[in-house]
């Protein structure tokens, strides 16, 4: 499990490096005397490719320790909830979108009681809204209802 993950992570890093090398090749390498825009990124990308390869080899040689499976369903729920929240926060406003996300996390994911969930969600939203909107005067996204 961990080995596969490490290999995938190294593979992605390698891909990132290759992408940078490829894009840097399209940029000027040297100016008059000083390095151009492509100089440093090209070398950074190349180093990342080499290091990723080194890491892949060392992973295959020394089996990484197994990590026990955690609550991955919870992680998925929290992350998906965040993505949905970010998608709707512009149209529904901070109070409704983030409030609903908090309730989803507290009640839906963590199975807290309705009382605790509502209490924590409401107080967090009120404090954050007061802090950012009222005190610091920085606008948070508002919905059609003005908050």
């Amino acid at each position: 499990m961990k080995l596969r993950g490490e290999l995938v992570a190294s593979g992605l890093c390698m891909l990132f490096g290759v992408l940078w090398v490829a894009a840097a090749l399209g940029l000027p390498y040297m100016g008059e005397f000083a390095p151009g825009s492509g100089f440093l990124p090209l070398w950074l990308g190349a180093c990342l490719v080499v290091l990723s390869a080194v890491h892949v080899v060392s992973c295959l040689r020394t089996q990484p320790a197994h990590i026990p499976a955690g609550h991955w369903r919870k992680v998925l729920a929290v992350a998906l909830g965040l993505i949905v929240c970010v998608a709707v926060v512009g149209s529904l406003g901070f109070v409704v979108a983030v409030g609903a996300y908090l309730l989803f996390l507290l009640r839906g994911v963590e199975k807290e009681s309705w009382r605790t969930s509502l209490g924590v969600a409401a107080s967090a939203i009120v404090v954050l809204f007061a802090l950012f909107h009222v005190w610091l005067h920085v606008p948070l996204p508002t919905g059609p209802w003005g908050f």
Binding site: A9, C47, H55, A79, L82, Y101, L105, L128, V138
Partner: protein, 496 residues
């Protein structure tokens, strides 16, 4: 004498309610997040960055510094009372601290930790005050080649900590590469935008810091499922006995010196300092067999060391603009965010800020001592806060903070994406700190590289023909090769 005059000026600033308030808020937040599960000083500073955006730079850095050393006090509580270190830098404290608590001596353990931390924090600040200005003055003679090599030392040294050198270097490179996205400030053309106009300004440091340290950290902790610890112990008799003092006085002193020196070194922060201080104490003790069963020196030394190291780590950050730890990397990013130029000029151009922060550290340590001796029992109730109630609020704060700094929904998408990436980075044991440091230091690295090669008419030889630059490159080479040599003889030990 110059330093004393500046320090007096710094204390003068602290007399203003505003700056005293920042200091108090910082150490309080540090104390609280040190004790709370699943959130450390790096995450706290990252999450608070948006709140300080556009505000008072000096006040914000005073607060961030307070969070850093305050967290070292707070983390002690969980280590001693429930044997669950709130911070990685208090892991060693748990060994003897928890045993002392089980013997009904939690108060003495917390008391000596607070007193040792106070001593170490104060002496460490004195060290910072004496060491940083001459270091900065010396570094003023650094030219671009020296700076280029210095950044390489900083990046490789920080890569050593965490999941291993290769992983650290990979993350450092990723950070450097991300920083190249957008307009190349020296030439004016754009790069690595892949047709996405919103990438013109690059990836914002603040968004990335909140994503990796806030969202990524939360997702990783949710996966582990942090259970609330059972705190059945009560805290009383916080004053250590006369015998305790006699036993721990040299431990505190040694911990302070070791901690400060290790903190000053780039890459090694409070965690490693506490490990080494504990090991040294056990080595020099007449009763090494007592370690692990409730020896008070085993609490005093690592606690003094982690506080002294947190202070020592600020020496390279202020004097050279090269952070010595993950947390100071974020503080350096904050300095840049406030439009300041970190590096040796900071002592000249922003003397108010530097000396205000140094003065605040003396004051902050006094506040923490006063808070901790009588109120440790009260802070212990924080340990009962359930992480399941805490993390949704942290996520909401991340969303509000990131949106508010540019009123941009794009930033929220970047935050979510890097949050998920941050989770995988943590899950597979890659360190986050080098990535952030790479992102922060890339402009300095590239500018220095260009200026150096302009000086040398395009030759790379300039980096090895100038003695200081060459020496720094040798250090970089040693850092990179040392673990390879060590590996030939033994299997690597991973410190998380």
């Amino acid at each position: 004498m110059d330093a004393l005059a500046h320090l007096a000026q710094g204390f003068g600033m602290l007399l203003q309610l505003k700056y005293f308030g920042f200091c108090l808020a910082g150490v309080l937040v540090g104390q609280v997040i040190g004790a709370l599960p699943g959130i450390g000083p790096s995450a706290a500073i990252a999450i608070l960055l948006p709140l300080t955006f556009g505000g008072d730079a000096t006040g914000s850095i005073i607060m961030f510094a307070g969070i850093y050393y305050g967290a070292q006090y707070g983390g002690t509580l969980t280590s001693v009372l429930v044997s669950i270190p709130g911070e990685s830098s208090t892991v060693m404290t748990a060994l003897d601290g928890y045993q002392m608590a089980r013997q009904g001596r939690a108060g003495a353990a917390l008391g000596i930790a607070a007193i040792g931390s106070f001593f170490a924090g104060t002496v460490g600040t004195l060290g910072l005050m004496l060491l940083a200005p001459p270091l900065a003055a010396g570094a003023l003679y650094f030219g671009p080649p020296e700076y280029f090599s210095l950044v390489l030392v900083g990046l490789t040294a920080l890569s050593l900590v965490g999941g291993g050198l290769v992983k650290g270097l990979m993350m450092g490179l990723v950070g450097l590469m991300i920083a190249t996205i957008g307009v190349d400030p020296q030439v004016g053309n754009t790069r690595f935008m892949f047709g996405q106009l919103w990438l013109m300004d690059g990836i914002d440091f603040l968004v990335l810091a909140v994503a990796l340290f806030g969202i990524g950290e939360v997702l990783a902790s949710v996966e582990q499922g942090l259970e609330p610890p059972k705190v059945a112990l009560t805290v009383r008799n916080l004053m250590p006995t006369r015998n305790d003092f006699i036993r721990s006085r040299f431990a505190v002193l040694r911990g302070t010196v070791i901690g400060f020196l290790i903190g000053v070194l780039p890459g090694a922060g409070a965690t490693i300092a506490s490990f080494i201080a504990y090991a040294v104490e056990k080595k020099v003790s007449k009763h090494p067999e007592e370690f692990g069963t409730g020896a008070i020196e085993g609490v005093a030394a690592p606690e003094a060391a982690n506080n002294a190291a947190a202070t020592g780590a600020m020496v390279p950050m202020f004097a050279l603009g090269i952070p010595g730890s993950g947390t100071t990397a974020i503080m350096l990013g904050a300095l840049i965010m406030f439009g300041l130029q970190p590096g040796p000029q900071l002592f000249e151009k922003n003397a108010d800020l530097v000396w205000g922060v140094i003065a605040s550290m003396y004051v902050g340590n006094v506040i923490l001592l006063v808070l901790n001796l009588p109120l440790a029992g009260m802070f212990a109730t924080l340990l009962r806060v359930r992480y399941t109630l805490l993390y949704p609020v942290i996520l909401a704060l991340c969303i509000a903070g990131v949106y508010s700094q540019a009123n941009s929904a794009d930033d929220l998408w970047v935050m979510s994406a890097f949050g998920v990436i941050g989770y995988f980075i943590k899950k597979y044991g890659f360190p986050v700190a080098p990535l952030v440091l790479g992102l922060v230091l890339e402009p300095m690295l590239e500018t220095a590289l260009r200026q150096s090669m302009t000086l040398s008419h395009g030759s790379l030889a300039i980096f090895v023909t100038r003695p200081i630059s060459a020496a720094l490159l040798v250090v970089t080479l040693l850092i990179v090769t040392a673990p390879l040599f060590a590996r030939l003889f033994r299997r690597p030990i991973e410190i998380h």
